[in-house]
């Protein structure tokens, strides 16, 4: 990609190079004879896509030269990013050009995980997979297959698994990430606010950020909207044990005691009700349960909360009043990953209740109603009815009824496989993802893999999980393939396309082709009637009055924003809340029916004993989860993580900045890394950036760099949802 000319003429100063001086008079003359020749951009074309470097999915224009993707730019028409692209998105080129990629199908030769492989043909791979799948299905029934996916391309694997007849498909998005937040909003308002958050950020005037590190857990359009609001003078109160870049943009940083957000929020609710700060008109017209809520929060005084969470009672009262003064252009901003405590549902409910008391639903500067762009799915035969309940218990009455049955509880699925309960799971199909680094239980995952008859993994790059596969299928990267359409709900409705920017660089195939071909071997071809992903999306688009050819010239087609539908209550129109009662339920009826309304009440969390710390982890703006540490461009920005520790705590342990330290939890799980001594964290808390500590030697850039937070984060659960309570680990730190 370098634009300069012949490098061989350089370095004349080195050694004998001085003899080359004779070649320079002409250049000396050229110096006198400026102008200098200006560099020009080379010829190129652009194709449209949407990003796959994280889960926000920004619109892209990819510049192609000589059949190769050379530069990624943002699509200004796309509401998810409005033309800007983060470092991760810009480094997407290196996801394709990564020298460590999976380049052809592999068959395991040695022990699982030993790293001995043989290249095989796609046909042989499919034949072996089909034989193993059909044998296990015969012996154990179709539910013996578990499918764990992570990424855009998981969709056809879900379809393949359901056609096979198993209910056991899962993705970390619920149980390891957003589940509690989405369920809470669903229970209270019937509107989960999941996926791409529908918050009118630009017009918000007051943000109470509950650990939502929006500048580093970064989604372009969301971050940009927030930055715009802050630039226009919106106030930010940032609540987090750690001083992040987001904190540096705030008027106020409140270093709350870890795991006690719920206490702070309950006291805010109490003050808001006690002082009648809430939107009385909205609450009267649209909500149920205020009296019961008032009774339930009566004991959560600001003084009680101060004791629990460390935020002064007077600040709690003041913040409640400030929120109310700015409402409805005020937001209590939930963290996206709300899997921290054993009552994350309570935290999510409190956030949803506060936003309701502030009356921000369907108001400018608050929460908007998104438009959609309906594009019909293809007509497929109904999936065979699965007799067995989900093995992870997600959505199963008597187990985890509130957990999302589409994405399931990935952590519980690993445990179910490890224990072979409630029934044998002998087949595992994974599509992207990395169970080791995105879950919190290495031991359960190793035991689970040990129980399998057959494990097939599909991915574009090596990682700890797929190194245990029996067959490894290499996927084309998102720059090398079509995918299913992106249909979105922002203020605008939209449908966007992903086109290949180049032919696959290696002997890889896209997920749709892989699933279709596998389905053929398994006798499930009826569920994959389209020859290719391109044909699938063309058929879908034609049903919506569009075509692939048209979308390829535009990248995105939008239904314009409609203020009356985005903000009905600004336009004299009613809001709609699809709850059982049709009202916003401050004490959700479904929770009561399940006997789970204790989630509304405070559940005390763990506290460190002498010498222990709360263990926390989080993101930087230029790495995605555990997926990008091997990307050479992003590793150049941060190649390993560090343990953030407060100077007071560090000096007690004799730790200086840059020292190597060992971090150990109460279960003697251990990781080592370098210390970063900084005032940007509470003295009772340590922190590390998520996703490092890779131990797969095939990841040549990331291998052995930094520490795996996943091996220290807690394995506890939220008692109502089954989601992971990752924040409950207490650790000790020792200088090495």
């Amino acid at each position: 990609m370098s634009k300069t000319t012949d490098p061989s003429r350089r370095r004349f100063l080195g050694g004998a190079g001085l003899l080359a001086v004779g070649g320079y008079p002409a250049r000396a003359l050229a110096r006198v004879k400026a102008p200098h020749a200006a560099e020009m951009l080379g010829p190129s074309r652009e194709v449209f896509s949407f990003c796959d470097m994280c889960y926000w999915r920004c619109g892209l224009k990819i510049r192609v030269r000589d059949g190769r993707a050379v530069k990624i730019e943002g699509n200004p028409e796309h509401p998810n990013n409005r033309g800007v692209v983060c470092a991760k998105g810009n480094a997407g080129l290196m996801a394709a050009y990564d020298p460590d990629r999976l380049k052809f199908p592999l068959l395991r030769m040695g022990e699982r995980g030993a790293g001995k492989w043989k290249r095989i043909s796609w046909d042989e791979a499919y034949d072996r997979i089909a034989a193993a799948f059909l044998k296990a299905k015969e012996q154990y029934g179709p539910e013996t297959l578990a499918m764990i996916g992570h990424g855009t391309w998981e969709k056809p694997y879900h379809r393949l698994a359901h056609a096979f007849g198993t209910p056991n498909t899962t993705s970390p998005v619920f149980g390891l990430c957003c589940g509690p937040r989405d369920v809470a909003n669903q229970l209270v308002a019937g509107r989960p606010l999941g996926g791409n958050e529908t918050l009118d950020l630009e017009n918000c005037r007051y943000f109470l950020m509950m650990g939502r590190n929006i500048t580093e857990s970064l989604h372009n359009g969301e971050t940009l909207g927030w930055v715009e609001a802050v630039a226009k003078g919106a106030q930010v109160v940032y609540v987090d044990p750690r001083y992040t870049i987001t904190a540096s943009k705030a008027k106020e940083w409140l270093p709350i005691r870890p795991l006690t957000d719920h206490a702070f929020l309950l006291a805010l609710i109490r003050v808001m009700i006690e002082e009648r700060l809430y939107d009385t008109e909205f609450v009267a017209a649209y909500t149920l349960g205020l009296e019961e809520l008032e009774r339930r929060v009566a004991r959560y005084t600001p003084e009680w909360a101060e004791e629990e969470c460390g935020i002064a009672a007077k600040d709690i009262r003041r913040i409640a009043r400030e929120l109310a003064a700015h409402a409805p252009a005020a937001l209590v901003y939930s963290p996206r990953r709300l899997t921290r405590t054993s009552n994350d549902l309570g935290t999510g409910l409190a956030i949803s209740i506060l936003n309701t008391l502030l009356g921000v639903w369907d108001r400018e500067g608050g929460i908007f109603s998104p438009l959609s762009f309906p594009v019909p799915e293809p007509d497929l035969p109904p999936f065979p009815h699965a007799d067995a309940p989900r093995a992870d218990g997600a959505g199963v009455e008597g187990v985890w009824p509130l957990a999302n049955a589409q994405y399931g509880l990935t952590n519980q699925m690993w445990s179910a496989i490890a224990e072979q309960k409630p029934y044998p799971i002998k087949l595992l199909l994974t599509a992207g993802g990395n169970g080791f680094m995105n879950s919190t239980d290495f031991d359960a995952i190793r035991r689970a893999i040990g129980q399998l008859d057959f494990f097939v993994a599909a991915d574009i790059a090596p990682n700890e999980m797929n190194q245990y596969a029996d067959i490894l299928l290499p996927e084309a990267s998102y720059l090398e393939r079509y995918d299913d359409l992106q249909t979105g709900g922002a203020k605008e409705g939209f449908v966007a396309v992903r086109m290949p920017a180049m032919k696959p660089l290696h002997d890889t195939r896209d997920a749709w082709t892989i699933c279709k071909q596998l389905a053929g071997r398994l006798g499930l071809g009826a569920w994959f009637p389209h020859a290719s992903a391109a044909e699938l999306i063309d058929e879908r688009l034609k049903k919506a009055g569009l075509s692939l050819a048209e979308l390829e010239t535009k990248g995105i087609v939008k239904k314009p924003a409609d203020p009356a539908r985005n903000f009905p209550r600004e336009h004299g129109l009613p809001s709609v809340f699809p709850t059982p009662s049709g009202k916003v339920e401050l004490v959700p009826s479904r929770l009561k029916a399940l006997g789970m309304d204790d989630a509304l009440d405070y559940l005390p969390q763990v506290r460190p004993q002498d010498g222990e710390f709360h263990f926390t982890f989080g993101r930087v703006g230029f790495h995605t989860h555990a997926r990008t540490q091997n990307n050479p461009w992003l590793a150049d920005l941060m190649g390993e993580n560090e343990l953030w520790i407060h100077p007071d705590a560090a000096s007690r342990q004799g730790i200086r900045d840059g020292d190597r330290v060992e971090v150990a939890d109460r279960n003697s799980r251990k990781e080592t890394l370098r210390a970063k001594v900084t005032r940007r964290i509470r003295p009772d808390t340590v922190f590390m950036v998520h996703g490092f500590g890779h131990f797969d030697p095939r990841m040549r850039t990331a291998h052995g760099k930094g520490a795996a937070d996943a091996n220290l984060a807690s394995r506890d659960r939220d008692g109502h949802l089954g989601t992971v309570a990752m924040g409950r680990s207490l650790v000790r730190v020792r200088k090495l």
Binding site: M1, S2, T4, P7, R9, R10, R11, F12, L13, L18, V21, Y24, P25, R27, A28, A30, R31, V32, H36, A37, A38, E39, M40, L41, K71, I72, E73, G74, V84, V85, C86, A87, N90, A91, L93, T215, E216, L218, N220, T223, L224, V227, V230, A231, Y243, I245, T246, A247, S248, K249, W253, G621, F622, P632, W633, L634, D636, L637, T678, R679
Partner: protein, 248 residues
């Protein structure tokens, strides 16, 4: 009217996400270990001992009195009428005299080309009517680029509306065309340009040795021998300077 290109960086909008750094790397194929642009994260102590951060995106400041141009013996470093400071790679010998002359550490020897590389304000892009890669991708829209001589441009409007600082000090003011808005806070000392003693040496070369260039081969050889010697002498001090390097 002649254009006058300037870069504005609003530190209050910068989130140190490094999108600019990677977009630049992607656009210009900069080898790993080097970068044409950077974001400097300065940790400070705020009121009451609380932490405070300032985020300063940076790159070549395209100075009016560019010391790199003065220090370049081959004429490869030059400035266009619109203010953009460029390297003519046909002329650059890779002698690196310009590297220590820059008070902003904006120049480096590209090991792949053997010539000196730096931010060009994305000259090929701006000449084709596109924004610089860093500006186009900037997530917080902290970077704004344009023609300060055009009163209708966004940069002209912003220069009027907000308070802007430049990275200058009592000792070093070479007329940078890169502006910073910090929301009224003073620039931290770490962000200010370093005194460039090497620049004085470069000046000697420029004023004493360079005029020989017109005298043909012998003079040119003299220039380059002197430059080579200087390069060797500079190496030791360069190691020291790199300790404060900010290309992270």
């Amino acid at each position: 009217m002649t254009k006058k290109y300037v870069m504005l960086a609003d530190a209050t909008r910068c989130i140190n996400c490094k999108a600019c750094v990677i977009a630049c790397r992607a656009e210009w194929g900069t080898p790993l270990g080097h970068s044409r642009d950077w974001v400097r994260e300065v940790e400070m102590e705020g009121p009451g001992g609380m932490p405070d951060l300032m985020l300063l995106p940076g790159r070549c400041q395209h100075c009016d009195d560019a010391p790199c141009v003065e220090s370049c013996p081959s004429g490869a470093a030059y400035q266009r009428e619109d203010g953009v400071v460029l390297v003519d790679h046909e002329l650059c010998s890779g002698c690196e005299l310009c590297v220590p002359a820059c008070p902003y550490d904006a120049r480096f020897l590209n090991p792949e080309t053997g010539t000196v590389s730096k931010c060009t304000f994305c000259q090929p892009r701006i000449d084709a009517g596109q924004p610089p890669a860093c500006v186009g991708t900037c997530v917080g829209r902290a970077l704004v680029f344009g023609d300060a001589n055009d009163p209708a441009s966004e940069v002209s409007r912003l220069l009027q509306e907000k308070e802007w600082l430049r990275l200058t000090s009592d000792g070093v003011n070479v007329g940078p065309n890169h502006y910073y808005h910090t929301g009224g806070r003073p620039l931290p000392p770490e962000a200010l340009p370093k005194p460039t003693t090497p620049h004085v040496q470069g000046r000697l070369l420029e004023e004493v040795v360079n005029p020989l260039a017109g005298a043909g081969l012998l003079g040119m050889a003299g220039v380059f021998v002197a430059a080579g010697m200087k390069k060797l002498l500079d190496r030791r001090s360069e190691v020291q300077r790199q300790e404060g390097g900010h290309h992270d």
